[in-house]
Subunit: 346 residues, 2 copies
């Protein structure tokens, strides 16, 4: 088992990426291939002060870096020696079983499509993200698409529902996961024309479709798989993250503004710590881009070493199964003659 | 000053609507006209046990009710004797200075357009909602559109930015309010084609545009006026409401699960109460639909008596100014020959 990591992608690269890999190395049998500037990665490995087995962590040099401001397709074509493209090519050549990056989402999607190709029957690959639930019976829902496709047709959304359901089953063992469509009303006549069409497609999809899910029902875990376009998914994830963080910070400030409050807070410190942990998105690791012929994981742009460690461990776990094969099988079953693409056909 | 209220619209109508009006009557000089089923409203007035001045609260009978499942335009045309349509007509005839409804949002928008008409220069009226901020220096941002227009062109969004800025200034006294565009990245190249176009329009609009605002920055009060399409706005508002509620419920449960925690919670009970109040959306009242030739306020569908009371008081306050006139003036200044509509032209 080998995992390729784009060491130069993300807000805290390469430092946090390298440290996360060092931490992960103690928890997985996988060999980790750090792709990026050789000198900078070596420096980070040395400066971390963490000892590691050089047979289990190795460096593959790449000259360039795709920036967040780069235009996705142009970047992938114009920077063939970038850490992201090189890391993805390791999956293509069979030298790695999965690839992870905290870099430019659009570029990661484009690189996956251009270098690995699309699974037959999949119109649009999508990012399947964990949506952590607070104080609910289930720990999370899956959100598809979490940011790869800003605009979507009804048939795209149907594909997302299929891929999300497959991932929920194969990675988390949930049989017949419930599927909800993010919308602005419960009735099937609500929302845009695309969403009304999607509702009808989902009704006859054979999936366990439970109807529309409104914003207010998301935090209660209304469905195992939440389907929406990537714009809405991105807003939902980031808003949840920002709001949970704001509320916790406010609670903390309020609970320490006078002596009595501090006493109460001291008694409740264990509870407060538990709550903070439930809010911590980094514990859930990266999100796979499904629909591509290979395992590509998108990590949060602001991933810290802890988040990278969890993402690497999770990726190794998923790579030990046959997620791509399962998606291929399921998507072909409902695809109506629509062909996949080989690399460089897009 | 007279305020018309659709007594039959909303999840808890007519009971909570009638009680909210009774409560408001003690806090405003305005005369309230309750529109809807005469018998049911009379019963609610009697059953409330609250004494009131019949000169200040009167009933106008309307036979029909527009339901949430009704198709907006068809409902407005097909149910001329509905409480919502009748209430709006009171504004048209000059018998009321403003109208409030907790009913079908699309129908309220359609009734406003069809009966009152559009202000010249306004392409699309929009709902301007309060987005409450928790633990921030400012108490709220304004969110436009909060649910009236699921899909929008760039020029529509520009209009929302103008109307939101005018409302922030005229209703809340904020000079040169900051305007942010809800998007999935900070860079001006992010998002859909419409949003890229909107970014360029806002840059040269003369408004105090501060750039894109991502989901995670919304709860921190990134801008005074947040601009987005009605689909995104609806998801943002409802998700925030649902998440805040879920987090508070979880805190409450955690803090009462053992004896020591209960002791800590008892000490902090005042702080917890304050927090809950900050989360309470009902304190902010209804949201105006701007761009219509008349003051129309949308109340939350699940409005309780408290929320209705606050909405009525706020509507009376806004109606005492000349919001519609200010919008007319400002929109005409930037409109390029685009004409408004008279009633029944839409």
């Amino acid at each position: 088992m080998r995992i390729a990591i784009d060491a130069m992608g993300g807000d805290h690269a390469p430092q946090e990426i390298v440290r996360g890999c060092l931490q992960a190395s103690g928890h997985t049998e996988a060999e980790l291939i750090l792709v990026g500037d050789h000198q900078r990665i070596t420096d980070e490995l040395t400066q971390s002060g963490i000892s590691y087995d050089p047979a289990r962590i190795r460096i593959m040099h790449a000259q360039e870096v795709i920036e967040n401001t780069d235009s996705p397709v142009r970047a992938v074509r114009g920077k063939p020696d970038s850490s992201m493209v090189r890391a993805i090519e390791l999956v293509k050549s069979g030298e790695a079983d999965a690839v992870l990056s905290a870099g430019n989402t659009g570029a990661l999607m484009a690189a996956g499509l251009l270098r690995l190709g699309r699974i037959k029957g999949v119109e649009r690959p999508a990012i399947v993200s964990i949506y952590p639930l607070i104080g609910q019976e289930k720990a999370f829902s899956l959100l598809v698409d979490a940011g790869a496709n800003a605009e979507c047709k009804a048939s795209n959304l149907l594909g997302f529902a299929h891929m999300g359901s497959i991932y929920m089953k194969s990675a988390f063992g949930v049989e017949s996961p419930t599927v909800g469509l993010i919308n602005i009303g419960a009735e099937e006549t609500k929302g845009t024309a695309q969403l009304k069409d999607t509702y009808q497609l989902l009704k006859t999809s054979g999936l366990n479709f439970i109807g529309n899910v409104e914003g207010r029902d998301i935090p209660g875990g209304a469905a195992d798989v939440l389907v929406c376009d990537g714009f809405t998914g991105n807003v939902i994830l980031k808003l949840t993250e920002g709001l949970a963080w704001t509320i916790l910070k406010t609670i903390k400030r309020r609970f320490t503004e006078d002596v009595m409050a501090k006493l109460g807070a001291a008694i409740l410190s264990g509870k407060l710590r538990d709550l903070k942990k439930e809010f911590d998105y980094s514990t859930y690791g990266g999100a796979p881009i499904l629909g591509i012929r290979g395992l590509v994981f998108k990590m949060h742009g602001s991933s810290t070493a802890d988040a990278v460690r969890n993402s690497v461990i999770k990726a190794a776990l998923v790579a030990s199964g046959d997620l791509t094969g399962q998606i291929r099988q399921a998507m072909e079953a409902y695809a109506n003659g629509e062909e996949g693409t080989d690399p460089d056909e897009e």
